[in-house]
């Protein structure tokens, strides 16, 4: 391995460490935020999921190298995201059909 390559990977390692610190911080923020009453539970859920989404993005982009992947991978992920969001859309859309208080135990 030449000097340039070694420097290139040393930069990568530094970046991984920053991401690691950010993930640790994000975890503590997630726990801390769950103790703050934002007014209603839905808002607390939203904040927690937003932080989780941020952490997941860091893992995906840097640890899974999605910031610099080939088009083929983005294509696979695009199709997955389409179907996943479709599933969530159908789930939320079916709220109005769901009898309230039907899950009692």
């Amino acid at each position: 391995m030449n000097h340039e390559e070694a420097e290139h990977f040393a930069q990568h390692v530094r970046r991984y460490l920053y991401v690691f610190y950010a993930l640790l911080f994000g975890t503590l923020i997630t726990v801390g935020a769950s103790y703050i009453p934002f007014g209603n539970r839905e808002l607390n859920i939203g904040v927690a999921l937003l932080i989780a989404l941020g952490k997941a993005s860091l893992v995906g982009c840097y640890f899974m190298h999605l910031v610099s992947e080939r088009k083929m991978i983005y294509g696979i992920l695009g199709v997955t995201a389409f179907f996943f969001l479709g599933l969530m859309f159908l789930t939320i859309a079916s709220f109005s059909d769901l009898p309230r208080n039907s899950v009692t135990h």
Partner: protein
């Protein structure tokens, strides 16, 4: 016969085959966990508000396990980077750390499961409810470490109550017990979701740890014969491991905190 494109990129995809394969597999995994999350959302929205539990899981333990998985993610990626930098010894060290961290995660999860399976809600003939952890069970009596409640609803929001209630050792004669059920998946919809999601996730952790263990042990012989191919194998196992971490990042707040 040699398997094609294990190292060099296929001209049409620009990737070696295993990488396309693992991403297709991860896509199917996203839909698997997505379907279970969807079930969780519907069950929770349809649940009676004051009968959905809060604080049934130990947050410090869950936080610790989250930190364990995050740390295992960095050790996995460092193991791969070490191979890229031609440092096999460092790879061995980082991958050993990943294996130990995965074992720690599974041990903590097992402790949490054991805690639930030894936790009982006991309805008595006089209408009272005793709730606590089993200390001793004989044909004549049951001893638990817990408390009495008048209304079952008192058992559901433990977070709001904090540590305000005190636990003591309670001896209950069998003749006074109407029903007795532990906090297994059958006890409540929330626990059914909890055990399904975390159980499936734990199976992924065990499966990933087995693969990483193989690459750390006997599988590492490939490094001497074909280092590029071995590095790619480590990258593939790492991608799976990061996905397992990613799923937990969502499971933790959803099950432990909300």
């Amino acid at each position: 016969m040699d398997i094609p494109y294990t190292v060099e990129a296929r001209p049409d995809t620009g990737l070696y085959n295993a990488k396309v394969g693992i991403w297709l597999f991860l896509a199917s995994e996203v839909m698997l966990f997505g379907a279970l999350f969807s079930a969780y959302i519907l069950l929770r929205v349809g649940a009676t508000g004051d009968l959905w539990p809060h604080g049934w899981l130990n947050i410090p333990i869950g936080t610790f396990n989250t930190l364990v998985l995050i740390t295992s993610s960095i050790t996995t990626v460092m193991a791969w980077a070490s191979l890229k930098m031609n440092q096999f010894g460092r790879f061995k060290f980082f991958h050993a750390c990943t294996i130990l961290l995965s074992l720690a995660f599974v041990c903590v999860k097992s402790y949490e499961y054991h805690d639930k399976f030894t936790h009982y809600e006991i309805h008595l003939t006089d209408g009272r409810i005793a709730d606590g952890h089993l200390v001793k069970s004989t044909p004549e009596q049951v001893i638990i470490h817990g408390r009495f409640v008048e209304d079952r609803k008192e058992l559901f929001d433990l977070r709001a109550q904090g540590a305000s209630h005190t636990h003591e050792e309670i001896t209950l004669p069998r003749a006074q017990i109407k029903t007795m059920e532990n906090y297994g998946p059958w006890h409540h919809t929330y626990l059914a979701v909890y055990f399904t999601l975390t159980g499936l996730h734990a199976l992924h952790v065990i499966g990933g740890a087995l693969v990483i263990g193989f690459l750390w042990g006997p599988g590492s012989k490939l490094w001497r014969q074909d280092p590029d191919r071995f590095t790619n194998r480590v990258e593939i196992s790492g991608l799976f491991w990061h996905f397992v971490d990613l799923v937990w990042i969502f499971l933790f707040p959803v099950l432990y905190l909300l």
